[in-house]
Symmetry: C2
Subunit: 201 residues, 2 copies
Amino acid sequence: MEPNSTTENRIKEAARKIFIKKGLAGARMQEIADEAKINKAMLHYYYRNKEQLFKKIFEEVAAEFVPKIFSILGEDRPLEVKVQDFVSHYLDMLTRNPFLPLFVLSELRSQPEFFENAVGIKRSGILEKLAVQLKAEAKAGHIKPISPANFMANLMSLSIFPFLAQPMLQLIFSMNTQEFKNFIEERKQLIPQFIMSSLKT
Amino acid sequence: MEPNSTTENRIKEAARKIFIKKGLAGARMQEIADEAKINKAMLHYYYRNKEQLFKKIFEEVAAEFVPKIFSILGEDRPLEVKVQDFVSHYLDMLTRNPFLPLFVLSELRSQPEFFENAVGIKRSGILEKLAVQLKAEAKAGHIKPISPANFMANLMSLSIFPFLAQPMLQLIFSMNTQEFKNFIEERKQLIPQFIMSSLKT
DNA sequence: GTCTATAAAGGGATAGAC
DNA sequence: GTCTATCCCTTTATAGAC
């Protein structure tokens, strides 16, 4: 068993696994209990009901999805370096947690209110810093002008979408799981190139 | 009521709406019946059970998601024109059906076998034509070399992801629904520019 | 804290009248 | 084809012993 194997930790790990795979509606309390190797009644002892257990898990997972990594974008470094760092770290994280984006975005659609707490990015000032840098670089003629929203949408799209569409991409391009991993690995180099080339004046 | 308001059509429209919003596990037969303004028993009369009703709907929706529009990419026209056409048409379709991508990709994760029939793209020869064109353009020095998988992944990422992440983007960038529509409208021009600039030699 | 047993609600499916 | 009534399995949640 795991190192920090208290009952509560086992419940959280099990719930995380099952909720991410099946979503709130598709998950079964019995399945979570089995995965945690405990009795179903214990779930209710620790977290009164399914909703509360889910809420707890979702908030933790959502906080990972819009992660510390975003702080990279607020640092005082050249744009290109920040893009490379962001893509590299984010793709690593998503390779370890490939189902995370679909889970967060799916549940976010039906439960938008869960998200507000989890997202620190809006209050962090990162976007403002990024906006200043994009404007400065454009004024200096280093890049084409671009809004922070479009810049971020492009960066996140190129990084996250392949994981959302993994089954479809594997089907269309006849990739097995290892080939998909190689594809992602290759994109760690390519995405920053795409982004920076598209901004060239 | 709708023009072609047979019972079967009303069931399909209602089921489509509810399944897309809640998914297979989250949808309730009662809710679909209410939406269609018929009795729950009628659902079972027309489609023996929930699974079959879902399968019918999913196949139709999946066929729209990897749509006729993809044939644009196989045509004998300049790359730039094809990209513009594709983005413009696809973003229009997604604006009319903003929940469609999340639905298809979510259910595809748990039911990959449903998709095989719906995807005509692999058998269509479009990818081969596209591969030839990308290779020729690169050899002629018009664009940087790029694999069809990366080209398609970029094109689909930039087009589809914003709809998947709509609630998150609206939250982070403080957009209301109209502003989001304007954002998408703007991207009809921007995405082809990004794509083509990133391929410039 | 942990278990067994069971209540209570939810929801898919069917029988049978019209 | 359409409805009402109902069955019955599944799943959440609780009671109560240890």
